[in-house]
Symmetry: D3
């Protein structure tokens, strides 16, 4: 286990946290076997912590025309574009698990256009990258392309929402030097 | 009053909204005299609506080493960098009101480096723009420069938080073609 | 009235100027009610002053397939791309007046693609931005697109000319820190 | 002599031109032995022609703290940055002649930082490139650096003026596909 | 084992190759237990194959002031900047093995500035990225910074050489859609 | 003859070089009448020297669907994009000779899109620039466009190979400040 700091900012002790924040963290720990560092680092700001995970779950946990693996692809691709170590490593692991595929995360992180995914998924990622890099240029043409691939307007909102939310997450992680837990590097690499 | 659509997506009727969402909207309407379009447009997604405004208030309404006007400066500057019409026009108005200055919003929107603000505020905006454009390059040197201007580490978190949150907001507004209410264009331009 | 310097360079007194320069300035003052700062700042260099306003009038005052409001749109859009405070604020005012529309200037300044203007005007501004950002890539295809929107070759010259001339103006204004007169911020915002 | 078109636009006959325009062109022809194509191409628009050459002469012909060769260096460097064939080829020739150096133009066109010029000239070109690429970032620091190299404020205006004026020229030449006369390619390459 | 094509181009059979090319490939296979796809893909062009691996070995196998792990860091960092799937995945594996560190490759791939490496290694990677992205700006200042970190001029040549050579490799791999062997994804992740 | 250093690194004496390296250099000298500086500068590293020229000859000397002049066009265009003085000046000379055209090199160096070359050559250079600038985006569409212009897959490999190899060469030349011999500036400018 690394002794590296997980954030530039103070990491509160569990016992000092508001009850709801501590309970959410303990729940994650029970489910995952460890506490992903973002929970500890954001607990420095309980109000932002609550809003962050509420937003996260609203986008990532709900039913959607995008599978959970597809939503994780968006996270991995846009987070590498933003050079966010935490999100590429952590969500790369989640993507491997969601997709039951040990290769796809490393492929899309570097260049989704050459990854072994469907043309529909490439169109989804083209749009996610446009939202990430040049959202001002999003136009009717983008909607039309995505409709051709079978995405609904609400799916398009979801793609943009995931790209936009993790853009926020990437910027915060980069600012506070959030460190990915060692556990994530290997998760999902060996079929269970 | 314009007849233009305020969003590419359906705008729900107030009476169809969950109670908490409707109440929040009515409260804003009472306070402002009208409903800023982002409330109506995001109400299409109540879970995201709740998380969005919780996050917004956690950053923009709390006590901070940054004045409310300074936080609005960050919004205006980074939103013009992201070419987000809604946020530049709406938060330009809020900045004029918060700063009691009819000129500052238009100045910082175009080029904060030549705006009539303090060197400390320019350093704050330099950092906000780095978070907006190249957060991966944020380093100890940036912290040191901001410390010299009297910002604490938590102030730095606040600057990054505002830039990151409105980065999300800009990307969503651009994706859904959110329209600024006509009222905002004149707000704060004439001293009261 | 602001006490801020209007230029990094010395601003000559009217009585010290060559007659033709002083007369042109007094004429503008009579027409506008005040002297826009660019006249005073450029008067530091009478030969450039004369050429600058001769060029300006050759493009902006003549008959053209572009309305005067359309020419001002080009100025506002490309000047925000070049982050020129003076030109966005001053020509935003002139655009509001020419177009008799208090909203259009703020809209096109931030993102003309989402402004309430015609598709023909968006095509005009796409081309103006190409001239502004990447004129080396201008090609037959650009001419063809503009022809489809009803622009003649000479209209295309006009679009390029306005974008190119204000590119010069933006660079000079940024270099000398030209300050927009306070009067411009409100001009054209209230219907007369 | 090439049979290539010199411009996308009609090139007027000398006899159809206003007297002052025709006389200026004939004067240049007498001095140079041929008519540089920009004179013929811009004659399509006599009012712009007059303003263009008045502006050109105000910057390039006057006494200045910059030598004429130095002003041509600025033209060559910024014109290659803007990928303007006409200006790199034509002003490369003029630079060779002004500097009495057959190598310097090709060197600065590609990378002035590795050209055989003085540190003062490199500082001048650094600033010219900043005006060309990112004039909004020009600051007191740039002035200070240039002062250290012995440039006055008015020299700085001159550097910016040349970069800005040829930015206009580059954009027009690119838009109208202005062709450099064959004569320029060899001019100044062989010591006289 | 994947059935995916390893290159857009025909992959020659071992028995059809020139003897020296076949022997080099068999040697690698014996050492590694499998044939990295780049050997098979480049064998389509035996003359380029020979030069490529001669160049590779001249830079990567020789004694140098840079450790072999450090040279692999350069490869991983610049290859992600060039979005080259093959080189990030394959050289990530080699880096893990060379450095005996299962985490470092994923860290430097995304953002070496936040990786757990030494300041000297970060300076090395800053320079490698400058060679990758903007080699024309390499200057005495870069040499001075690297000297301060204890690098010799010949070490600097090595850094540039590795960045430049893999820039070639990245561009070819991207053009021919070179696929990384499945074996590389797990190599070096589990301590032996 | 200039007294300028030809490289930041020591230039070995011919008599100190390994026999094969010295012989290759003497052969070039006999053929050209002088020794291009790259031979002397790279001789500082004999193993890299051998691989470099083997790679060079494999791409530039062989039979190909691209003429030798076309291959030199690729070098000149991509080398100006990389701001490599040595390669633009030296390969500009070789291009003039190969194409028996004193104008083409200066034209393509600045803007190949406006050069007097064939549409097929412009398509070739569009692709070379994509390999130079954004090889990760190379796709089936690029292959299709080139096929329409009559290029085979192996021609496409050649275009990419030349762009990629000179990308390496540009980065090394920029790092070591390689100086072009004075002879190259005039070569091929006067018909023989």
């Amino acid at each position: 286990m690394s002794e590296q700091a997980i954030s530039r900012f103070p990491v509160p002790k569990l016992e000092d946290l508001p009850d709801d924040v501590r309970e959410l963290i303990l729940e994650v720990q029970e489910k995952s076997g460890f506490i992903p560092n973002i929970f500890l680092a954001l607990a420095h700001r309980p109000a932002e912590f609550r809003a962050f995970f509420a937003y996260h779950d609203a986008l990532m946990e709900k039913d959607s025309g995008l599978t959970k693996a597809e939503r994780e692809m968006i996270v991995v691709v846009t987070s590498n574009a933003n050079s966010c170590q935490y999100c590429v490593i952590v969500h790369g692991a989640i993507l491997r698990i969601r997709a039951k595929d040990p290769l796809v995360a490393d492929q899309v992180a570097v260049n989704y256009r050459k990854a072994e995914i469907t043309p529909r998924q490439k169109a989804m990622l083209d749009f996610a990258m446009k939202v990430c890099r040049d959202s001002a240029a999003v136009s009717d043409d983008d909607y039309a392309i995505l409709h051709e691939h079978g995405f609904t307007d609400d799916d398009i909102w979801d793609i943009a929402g995931v790209a936009a939310f993790f853009g926020l997450s990437n910027r915060m992680a980069n600012t506070i030097s959030l460190r990915a837990n060692d556990e994530f590097y290997m998760l999902g690499r060996v079929p269970q």
